[in-house]
Subunit: 209 residues, 2 copies
DNA sequence: CTGTTCGCGTGACATTTGTCACGGATTTAC
DNA sequence: GTAAATCCGTGACAAATGTCACGCGAACAG
């Protein structure tokens, strides 16, 4: 343990990764041992490298940060995961923590000490951005969380499928799909497809088609 | 002109800005003189600082990169603008260049030499990411292809307004709005609101509500 | 001047959407 | 056990959407 803390960077933007690497590389106690550009690759590298800490972007193509986090936790690698996100929505924070992330910080945090946060999660601490560190976010309840089925439907909606198409692909009645749609909007306090799509994209609920 | 090239960074993510700053600060010929976190602030700082080059993110809250670029060009400051984007859609590249950007590079460019790109645009060159450097993108023709009225309607749609609401705010028949909607989708080869919203957001056709 | 194109507007109508009321299967709380 | 809460499913129906055919005036080419 007197060794350096090993870090894996997972972010879809190479430029961002490079920036982080630079920010970390002059800290003698840290060592960036790998980079991945999407969730799937992140999981693969995590298994190979078994880093102490994984810095994971939330929104990514192929497999988003939440998914990847779950997969990595399931694999029992023992890495602590520090989630980076653009959004401060409680729902997302909650989901991240439930997925097993050990920290959640916002990209727009002005004075984020990334190295410090990494050390803290490596030490077993939970690190939350002040903006999201509401105690309520830690207590488990369901916020505006959608059910798996609903998320599935939402994905199809954003991809531009009609209720009928979704129904046929999922072998359901079109009515059923319509009701799922309605329930999703209910929880979100939304009444129109357009709003729904904006919300889904903004909050990274879906992988963009 | 033998002085350093002055640079203004405009990006909504503080962490990203800091990364860029680090990448640039060991180049002796460049000097980052300011940072802004949204388009509006970018315009303001541009007027104050009159930097040689402005590195501008495309997607930002308050005022997006395109808008900001136009405003800055209008103000006749003489700064060259290098647009950073996540998307390689032709439409966007075109819009950026028409707005007056001197360069367009993708954030995910693996080996982007940001410093080099900055020097080039400072020297008056146009810098395009290889992925988007199709000659067709340079020839002026269709913009987004949408008429002003259609863009106006689109803005309302993405904001979650119904045809009826739009009609009343614009003092039109609901039918008319519906037809505008149809025409927009026609030109874009789209048939559903959901797809339309995704497209509009992706290509920066609208200011997100 | 004349014909053509294009932006903007309209009403009518088929399709898709958003809502309603309801049932069965599970899970959790008492 | 029973009751309450969820999740998933259904049909029926009103409201919004997507498409149709069409008129009007302005801009432009001949």
């Amino acid at each position: 343990m007197s060794d350096k803390i090993t870090v894996l960077l997972v972010d879809d933007h190479a430029l961002v990764r490079r920036g982080f690497r630079r920010m970390l590389e002059d800290d003698e106690t840290l060592s960036v041992v790998g980079e991945a550009s999407d969730g799937a690759e992140g999981v693969k590298l995590a298994k190979e490298l078994k880093p102490d800490v994984i810095v994971m972007d939330c929104q990514m193509p192929v497999m988003n940060g939440l998914e990847a986090t779950r997969k990595i936790l399931d694999a029992n690698i023992g890495s602590a995961i520090l989630m980076l996100s653009m959004h401060s929505e409680d729902t997302l924070v909650k989901q991240a923590l439930e997925a097993g992330a050990r920290g959640y910080v916002l990209k727009e945090a002005l004075d984020l000490d990334l190295a410090g946060a990494i050390k803290n999660v490596a030490a077993g601490q939970t690190v939350l951005d002040p903006k999201v560190a509401k105690p309520q976010a830690l207590k488990g309840e369901r916020e505006s969380g959608l059910t798996p089925r609903e998320l599935e439907i939402l994905q199809y909606i954003v991809a531009g499928k009609s209720n009928k198409e979704i129904a046929s692909e999922l072998e359901l009645s079109a009515n059923t799909v319509a009701v799922h749609r309605a329930n999703i909007m209910d929880r979100l306090g939304i009444h129109k497809t357009a709003e729904l799509v904006v919300y889904a994209i903004r909050n990274g609920l879906v992988n963009l088609p």
